[in-house]
């Protein structure tokens, strides 16, 4: 059939579906009590600071409407910053300001916004518009990571980040996410961002997809996507792997940016990471997760886990 894949075919390729992810990985390996640690970015920041995991610097956090009035004074001191909801999901409610132009702020995609629009965004965030279940939320203002030079040619409207799936502390699959005009600079694949599958052993590109189709060049700037190699891959995987020790979440998605100065920075974590990473990698998650499950009894440290991943997860990669 041209529209549907046979389930047997997908099973053979080890593709994990949404139902299976929810039941066998998210529900079984992630304790609910640990969810707030990743769902609330303020808690994540505190946790990461304690454990020494580098994250973008927290500039402001606002949880009350009256605090919004005092914000313009602070923001006027900054040239670059990111506003995001502490409990947002799916990249919603995030505003990246990359520069100033007179009294106005320049978004990463070049659009201009004024202080009124920023205040409205803060109001929306605090009243819970972007949080799960509409709970009242806090707005975070944090420093903007500097795009690493190697991504400068590739990034459109935003800082590229690397999503690593960490299972029981083992990095099992990774992809580089590049914003496009179509995705409004956002890194979500279903919004039109590009996913570049990365070889978990080397951090080099294994292929790229946009809108579920394989591509080799960035549609907006023509950058080659088939010869990307991430610098300090081991360091990046170590960072991802440590997130497991900090949160105790067995099935975790870590979003990491590579700052031009500071190196890998943890942007946020996700207790229900999406499955599009399989499409970007052209490979199912199943065999990799099974390889980890087979080793679960060892409970090794970060270095051993990363070494196992760099070694190709006992042959599960390839």
């Amino acid at each position: 059939m041209s529209w549907l894949a046979a389930p047997s075919e997908l099973r053979e390729r080890g593709v994990v579906g949404m139902n299976r992810r929810n039941l066998e990985f998210v529900a079984r390996h992630n304790r609910r009590t640990a969810y707030p640690l990743v769902d609330n970015k303020l808690l994540t920041k505190r946790l990461a600071a304690k454990a020494g995991i580098p994250m973008p610097e927290l500039i402001l956090d606002l949880s009350h409407q009256f605090e919004v009035e005092a914000v313009p004074a602070r923001l006027n001191e900054l040239d670059e910053f990111v506003i995001k909801p502490a409990q947002g999901s799916g990249g919603r409610g995030i505003l990246v300001i990359a520069g100033r132009e007179g009294g106005r702020f320049v978004k990463s995609n070049g659009e201009r916004v004024n202080i009124q629009q920023i205040k409205r965004l803060l109001t929306n965030i605090i009243s819970g518009l972007y949080s799960l279940g509409g709970r009242t939320d806090s707005a975070i203002v944090e420093s903007l990571a500097k795009t690493h030079e190697m991504f400068a040619s590739m990034s459109v409207d935003g800082v590229p980040d690397i999503r690593v799936i960490v299972f029981q502390g083992y990095p099992v699959m990774a992809m580089l996410r590049l914003g496009t005009h179509a995705s409004d600079g956002k890194a979500n694949l279903h919004q039109g961002a590009i996913g570049v599958g990365l070889d978990i052993r080397t951090g080099t590109s294994v292929g790229a997809v946009q809108h579920n189709r394989a591509i080799t060049r960035h549609p907006d700037n023509g950058a080659h996507l088939d010869d990307i190699g991430i610098p300090d891959w081991r360091g990046l995987l170590r960072l991802a792997s440590r997130c497991f020790d900090v949160t105790g979440l067995g099935y975790l998605g870590c979003d990491i940016v590579i700052d031009a100065n500071a190196g890998p920075l943890l942007l946020e974590m996700n207790a229900r990471p999406g499955l599009a990473i399989q499409i970007a990698n052209g490979s199912g998650l199943d065999s990799r997760l099974e390889a980890v499950l087979a080793r679960e009894a060892f409970a090794p440290g970060v270095d051993e886990r990363v070494a196992f991943a760099l070694d190709g997860l006992a042959g599960a990669v390839g």
Binding site: A5, V15, Q278, I279, G282, G284
Partner: protein, 501 residues
């Protein structure tokens, strides 16, 4: 192991649900499918007599329990002005009992009952007592003996003797003996007396022939003959009556159909009508002490529950559409609420109204976003906007003569407001495409849920057999453990299947 315990739990739920439903079906006769019709006979006995001025007392024998007919005792009535009415249950048959201290002149009493035709209804017959030798006077005794001497050698059983007797009694010209006997006896008592004389249990009974719309009917004599363990019915003129569906036995065990004390020139006549009623309506009348059905509620609450009980089915549809198909909806169970509203409107009118209101509210919402309001205030504003739009639509469509436009009022306003808000956020954040996909997904699921929830069979079972919801629960539990691919994932992961290993 864990998996099996789930399957077991689901199996238990299904068994319990179906078991209770079948039991209740057998016990109370609530039909398993909607609109199963039954014929109901309404029979009226009319007793007329001339009262003499003394205390009057009237006894009317009432039909016994019998095969093929179900008496609706609740619908029985015998009230007549000035007379006390009771049902006397002391004798072999129930009797209606009217009394009045002093009555003068022409009196008319009515007794009414409802019978349901039910071919499956069977009662165990009451066996006859000892056969009493029928007494014939003088010459009749000789004639009876001769008739029996003639026929007995030719018969082998009660049935064959009765067959031959009826045949002989209806053969013209009659034999000398029979014609003598007929001069002193009516046909039915004669036949039963002759059978008794031969040692066979037989009795004369009175029955009413049921014909729709007939009035002034009288009971007619029949003969019942005990053969093995059942009473066989004989028409003294035509022979064996095989099909008793149109004959209602009225008097079997008492000596008389009715007795009048303190009156003269009495007579009883019968009239009857038949009507077709739904079996459901009838089952309600048979009250069972264990019946905890929703029928015990007041009518208004029943109407409410008719809707509410379809909700689990709608929830099941949502579970199927989301877990098996993978349709994205805005708001998890919002589609069920829309489906519930659609049930009260018409499908098309409801959908058009919904799309119009949500569309118009979305336009206004884009203006609201410029006002920079807090979330709660914005939703509240939308509630007001939605209500204004609904009002406008109702008035305009009514003016245009489109009554169906009024249907929009059935939609829950706050749900509509939230829908507008979510759609609008989706639109701003993820673009028109995603908003359309989720909006269309919600509508699709809502229409699917509506189609299932509006099936007459589903509505009937959901309301009349609430225990079947255990089966719905079992299905939801099983689906909750489904780890296979969703239908839309087969499309989503197509690139993975295509690539070689």
């Amino acid at each position: 192991m864990e998996r099996w315990s789930y399957v077991l739990a689901a199996a238990l739920l299904v068994t319990a649900g179906i078991g209770v439903a079948v039991y209740r079906h057998a016990d109370t006769g609530v039909p398993l499918v909607p609109d199963e019709d039954r014929t109901v006979w309404q029979i009226e006995a009319r007793i007329e007599f001339l009262a003499t001025g003394e205390p009057a007392e009237v006894l009317l024998t009432l039909p016994p329990e019998q095969d093929g007919f179900l008496v609706l005792y609740q619908a029985e009535s015998g009230a007549s002005p000035g007379f006390g009415f009771t049902i006397d249950r002391t004798g072999p048959q129930r009797r209606a009992h009217w009394t009045k201290r002093s009555a003068t002149g022409q009196q008319t009493l009515f007794y009414q009952m409802d019978l349901v035709e039910d071919p499956q209804y069977r009662i165990s017959p009451d066996p006859p007592g000892d056969v009493r030798e029928a007494h014939f006077d003088g010459p009749y005794a000789t004639a009876a003996s001769e008739v029996l001497n003639d026929l007995l050698p030719k018969s082998t059983s009660a049935k064959s003797l009765a067959d031959q007797l009826v045949q002989a009694a209806n053969t013209r010209p009659l034999s000398q003996n029979l014609s003598l006997l007929r001069q002193g006896h009516a046909p039915a008592p004669l036949i039963s007396a002759l059978l008794n004389r031969a040692g066979i249990a037989a009795r004369t009974v009175k029955a009413l022939r049921l014909e729709d719309g007939r009035r002034h009917q009288r009971l007619r004599d029949y003969v019942q003959v005990w053969q093995e363990d059942a009473w066989l019915l004989y028409d003294p003129r035509r022979g064996r009556v095989e099909e008793t569906g149109e004959l209602l036995l009225w008097q079997t065990g008492t000596p008389s159909v009715f007795d009048v004390v303190g009156g003269s020139r009495s007579q009883v006549t019968f009239s009857m009508t038949s009507q077709v009623r739904s079996a459901l309506g009838l089952s309600r009348l048979r009250d069972s002490p264990f019946d905890i059905s929703l029928h015990n509620l007041p009518i208004a609450e029943q109407g409410m529950f008719k809707l509410i009980m379809t909700l689990p089915v709608g929830a099941l549809v949502v579970v199927i559409m989301r877990l098996l198909v993978g349709v994205r909806t805005s708001g998890t169970f919002m589609p069920v609420l829309i489906a519930l509203a659609l049930l009260q409107t018409e499908l098309l009118a409801g959908l058009v109204g919904l799309v119009l209101v949500v569309g118009a509210a979305l336009l206004l919402r884009s203006y609201l976003s410029a006002l920079n309001l807090l979330l709660v205030a914005r939703i509240a504003t939308l509630v007001v906007v939605v209500i204004a739009l609904v009002m406008l639509m109702a008035v305009v469509s009514y003016r245009l003569g489109l009554i169906s436009g009024l249907a929009i009022t059935f939609f829950p306003m706050v749900i509509l407001a939230w829908t507008v808000e979510r759609m609008s956020i989706l639109w701003e954040e993820e673009g028109a495409g995603e908003a359309m996909i989720q909006g269309a997904g919600s509508l699709l699921v809502a229409v699917c849920a509506y189609l299932v929830m509006s099936l007459p069979l589903v509505r009937h079972l959901a309301f009349n057999f609430p225990e079947l919801h255990l089966c719905v629960l079992a299905a939801i539990l099983l689906l909750g453990r489904y780890t296979g691919y969703r239908l839309l994932e087969l499309h989503r992961f197509l690139p993975l299947a295509r690539r070689g290993p």
